[in-house]
Symmetry: C2
Subunit: 225 residues, 2 copies
Amino acid sequence: MDNQLLSFTEENYLKIIYLLTERHNGNEVSTNQLAEHTQTKAASVSDMLRKLAEKNYINYRKYQGVTLTEAGEQIALGVIRKHRLWEVFLVEKLGFGWDEIHDIAEQLEHIDSKELTKRLDDFLENPKFDPHGDPIPDAKGKMPSVSYQKLSEIPLNQSVVMMGVSVHSPAFLQHLDKQQINLGCGLKVLEISDFDKSYSILLDGKTTIFVSNEVAKNLLVSIDE
Amino acid sequence: MDNQLLSFTEENYLKIIYLLTERHNGNEVSTNQLAEHTQTKAASVSDMLRKLAEKNYINYRKYQGVTLTEAGEQIALGVIRKHRLWEVFLVEKLGFGWDEIHDIAEQLEHIDSKELTKRLDDFLENPKFDPHGDPIPDAKGKMPSVSYQKLSEIPLNQSVVMMGVSVHSPAFLQHLDKQQINLGCGLKVLEISDFDKSYSILLDGKTTIFVSNEVAKNLLVSIDE
DNA sequence: ACAAAATTTTAGACTAATCTAAAAATATAT
DNA sequence: ATATATTTTTAGATTAGTCTAAAATTTTGT
Ligand SMILES: [Mn+2]
Ligand SMILES: [Mn+2]
Ligand SMILES: [Mn+2]
Ligand SMILES: [Mn+2]
């Protein structure tokens, strides 16, 4: 409604480039990685990269991967802001589980109306994090910086708070639900098994639970102070 | 999400065919009418009609206009249901005016998730009408029948209630806002001017207002009993 | 009834996004 | 260092949705 400058497809590419660049600490994203995340083939990605470079949304040197330009980053952050706000709506207002919302938000993130985004933000009382613990970029296009650590990198017996997840698959999230591991709960690693590197964790200072190494690597926490 | 059988474009065509057929009391819709409402050219419409007929969503005989098949009507009603539910959301929850919501709902109506529609409906407390007074089809794909009359067809001094509008343009809706004509208010035609066929109307039994014939023809009312 | 006007369809072309197969460039491994 | 493997790009098609111009059909007016 406001300007529909870009197609859904272009928005998705820019968003994915942003998230993968972030994940690689600012390093270039490769064609194959994009093909995997866009569910297309490398040839299709090459075409799209040429187009996005032409429009000055990405920095692209053939065979060398891509990063976003300032313009591209602003588009990406706008899409991510909408995605995360809608996820908050789906969970807080409609009662969806955090494992059910991703695909719906994947569609809602492309709704084009500045005013809608602004009113939605206010309706949700200007949330700073989405239901997976990911920070929500502000209306100016600034991404808040957060410093979470993987639970697998925390020393034994250090009390931490569960802040986010680095994998968003329904299977993983449902697994956490079953073990009652939620955002905000207190965690303390009691022991790591020599046998399979699985974790014994004290949950909320009350119950002891066991999680695989794979799970521990994908729990994001911060030191409890 | 659920099945994404149809493109946005196809959904829009089916919705428009439904609404125009309804407006013509079941008569066929012409290619040119569709071209006007889809903002395309007649040639493009012909192509799309061939395609929709092939998929059995419409009954189409060349040069004779189209109607929806049962399958096409179910798609159309699903889209209209979502459009109107989202309009209720925008007005009731986000505080938009009834003149600001159409273009946003035009996008939201294509979000594909049965579960989302169901939860949205419950969140809104299962509204039966949208902010323009239009009935909301139920989850089974049934459109409630309503019997509104144009204010211009009501005898003098008959008390009626404002139930809907037959034009949704922002300009018209804003005009009604300025005159404080809202859904649910009481109206009584006191006099029709010989000079320009404009109306003197008693509003809510209190104030007398004047509206043009053009306005009176687009106000939908029902007899107050 | 029939010519003129209006409407609708067809023909042929274009753009966006995708694909497969082949060619080019880069990375890796002895 | 150089052959082999991997990654990326290019070439050439395909599909959806749109367009303009021309042909076909229906409607209208006398
Ligand atoms: Mn998306
Ligand atoms: Mn999220
Ligand atoms: Mn629409
Ligand atoms: Mn409406």
